[in-house]
Symmetry: C2
Subunit: 345 residues, 2 copies
C-alpha cells in the first residue's frame, strides 16, 4: 500500500511539495483553463500563450499527463479479458462503456492469452496506466492478482466467476442452476440419454455447468454414463472432436448438452457432416446465447443471459466501490432463460 | 508539435532540469534496480529500503509512472477499433501482440462505437496514456485524427484503408482486385446473373469491393442490374434483409456476392429459411474468411486473407517508424485467395 501516496493524486499527497496546475497558471500569467487547454490540446490557444505555458511546464518539470490526471481527470476503467472471449466481449464492453460513460469514465482494454502470467502482466500495465478500477474476465482470480491490485490501490470486479475475496465483488449467471434447469427441461421433453460436452476444470463454464447437468440427471434418477461425458477445449473445433468421440462409443445419446454455444456448434457440424439429423437423431443444447446460436441451421437452443447486463452490473458495482460504497454485494447474479429452437426436440 | 518536448522522455528534454532515476538511487543510497523494484513493485524489497526510496520519490515529487516511463520503459502500442469488428479483431490482435512483444511493446485497446467522435476520443486517451504508437482500424482517417497524433507526437498505422497521409502508412488487402477476381471466378463458372449485397460508402469494405464487382461484370460484357445491387448494414441481419429485397424483385440471380461473410450468412439464412437451396438455386460468396464461414452449412465460399498478417505487418511498420526508419512503405497489401466451398457452384 506504500505506493498509494505517490500514485494517487487526490489523497495522501503532501500538497506543500507539489506544484499544481494553479501554480503553473500563475507563473505563466494565464487562467487554469488555458493551462488545461494547452496540456490537453483540447481547444485552440494563442500561439504566444501556448509557448509561455509550455515554458513554465518545462521549467517546473511537469509532464502533461500528470497535470491532466490532477485537474482534468482522466477517469479510467480497465478491462482484462482473454482473447478467445470475443464472441461475447462486444456485449460485455457495450455494457461496461454504457455505464462508464454515465459516470465519466473511459475504458481501456487489454487482452490476455488466457494464462495467469499474461493476466498479471495486464494488471501491472493497468496499474502503471493509473487505472482506477479494473473489470477482470479470466482465470480464477487469486492471491497474485490481488497483490498487484492492492499495491496500486486499484478497485476490481470479477466477471464470469464467483469471488472468494471480500474486497472484490463478482457478477455472473448462476451456472449451476441454469445448467440444472436446462437439462431438466430436456428430461421433461422425454430425453434420458443425455451426453455432455464439457469444458475442463472447476471454473464456472466447465465445472459449474457440469455440476448442474449431473445434479439434474441424479434428481431424475438417471445414472451418469462416463463415456458420454467428454471434456473439450472451449472452441468450435473442440466440440466437433468431442462429438466424434461420443459417436464412436457406438451408442448415440438422444441429446447433447454443451458448455458453450461454440462447442455445441462444433458438435452440430460433426453430426450434420456425418449424416445425422438434428434434432431427429440428436438434440443439441448450447449455453451463452451468443450471436452464433441464431446464425446456424437449425438454430441452436441455448441458455441465454445478457452479457450487456453483466457488463453494466459489474461496472456499476466497480464505480460504487470507487465512490466508497460499503454495501456492494459480494456476488451478483444476472438472470437467464432457456431458449428452445430447432436444434432440440 | 510543441508538446513533444514534455511528453517524450528520450528526446528533446532538458536533462539539467530533470531528476532521473539515477539521482533518486543516489539520494536514497540504493541501486537503480532497487528503485525500479520499488517503483514497479516488481520484486520483493527490504521494507526499510522501500521506505527510504519512497521518501525520496515523494520529496522529489516523482510519480512512479513517470519514473517507469523513463527507465523501465513501458513501451505502449495502442489499438483503436470499432466495436463491431470483433469477428476479426482477435486475429488482428494476435498479429499485433506477436510482433509487439518481440520488440518489447505492450498493447492497450480502445473500442470506438464506429463514429469519428468516439475515435477522436480514443486517440486523445492514447495520447494522454503516453502511447508511442497507435494502430487505427476504423473510419476514413482524416485531418482531425492527424492533428491529435501530431500534437502528441504519436506514430500511427492504418488498417483496412489506404492512407492518404504521407506520414501514416497503411496495410490492407487490395479489395478492388480481390473482389474483381472473386466475381470473375463466378463468371467463369457460368454465372451471369450476379447480385451484390454491398456495404455503403466509399470505404474499402463497401466502395472498393463494389468497384471490383462492377469492373468484373463490365469486363465480361455483363450489364449491371441496379435492382440486384442492394446496400446493407455490415451485419448478419443486414444481409438477410438485403437478400429479401433481391428475392422480392421477382427475378432471382444465380449468385450473390456480399461485402462481408456476416452479410453473406444473413443472405444464406434468408434463402434457406424460405425454401431456396444453396448452391442449387443461388450461390453465395462472402468476403473476409472469418471463422463464421466454416461454421455454417453449407460452408461459405469467401475471399480469405490473413488478419493476423495484417496485424503483424501494421505493427512492424509502426515499430519501424518509431525507430526512425525512413523507408516504411506508404501502403502495404497482404495476400488473399478465393476459397470455394459448398455455398457456390
Amino acid at each position: 500500500m506504500l505506493l498509494f501516496e505517490v500514485v494517487d493524486f487526490d489523497e495522501g499527497r503532501d500538497d506543500s511539495l507539489r506544484i499544481t496546475i494553479k501554480d503553473i497558471a500563475q507563473m505563466a500569467n494565464v487562467s487554469v483553463s488555458t493551462v488545461s487547454r494547452v496540456v490537453n490540446n483540447s481547444k485552440p490557444v494563442n500561439e504566444d500563450v501556448r509557448r509561455r505555458v509550455m515554458e513554465v511546464l518545462k521549467k517546473t518539470n511537469y509532464p502533461p499527463r500528470i497535470v491532466a490526471n490532477q485537474e482534468t481527470a482522466r477517469s479510467l476503467i480497465g478491462v482484462i479479458a482473454p482473447k478467445n472471449s470475443s464472441t461475447v466481449l462486444d456485449d460485455f464492453i457495450t455494457g461496461i462503456q454504457t455505464i462508464s460513460s454515465v459516470f465519466g469514465y473511459e475504458t481501456i482494454i487489454t487482452l490476455s492469452d488466457g494464462t495467469e502470467d499474461t493476466e498479471l502482466q495486464c494488471l501491472r500495465l493497468h496499474a502503471d496506466m493509473g487505472t482506477q478500477g479494473v473489470i477482470f474476465i479470466g482465470n480464477q482470480f487469486g492471491k497474485h492478482h490481488l497483490n498487484i491490485l492492492e499495491s496500486a490501490s486499484i478497485a476490481c470486479t470479477l466477471v464470469g466467476q464467483i469471488s472468494e475475496m471480500p474486497s472484490v465483488p463478482s457478477v455472473h449467471v448462476d451456472n449451476v442452476s441454469a445448467a440444472y434447469e436446462a437439462v431438466t427441461c430436456l428430461i421433461h421433453k422425454g430425453h434420458r440419454d443425455i451426453a455432455m460436452i464439457r469444458a475442463g476444470g472447476d471454473m464456472p463454464v466447465g465445472g459449474h455447468r457440469y455440476r448442474g447437468y449431473r445434479q439434474a440427471l441424479q434428481d431424475a434418477g438417471i445414472s451418469l454414463r462416463e463415456e458420454w461425458i467428454v471434456e473439450s477445449e472451449i472452441s468450435i473445433e473442440g466440440g466437433r472432436i468431442a462429438m466424434q468421440a461420443i459417436a464412436e462409443t457406438g451408442s448415440l445419446p438422444s441429446a447433447v448438452f454443451c458448455s458453450t454455444d461454440g462447442m455445441a456448434i462444433g458438435a452440430m457440424n460433426y453430426l450434420l457432416d456425418n449424416g445425422y439429423r438434428i434434432p431427429e437423431d440428436v438434440s443439441v443444447l448450447g449455453f451463452d446465447g451468443s450471436f452464433m446460436s441464431t446464425l446456424v441451421r437449425p438454430q441452436l437452443s441455448t441458455v441465454e443471459y445478457s452479457a450487456v447486463e453483466i457488463g453494466m452490473t459489474s461496472t456499476r458495482n466497480l464505480i460504487r466501490k470507487l465512490k466508497g460504497a460499503a454495501d456492494v454485494p459480494q456476488h451478483s447474479n444476472v438472470t437467464y432463460h432457456l431458449v428452445l429452437r430447432g436444434s432440440t426436440k
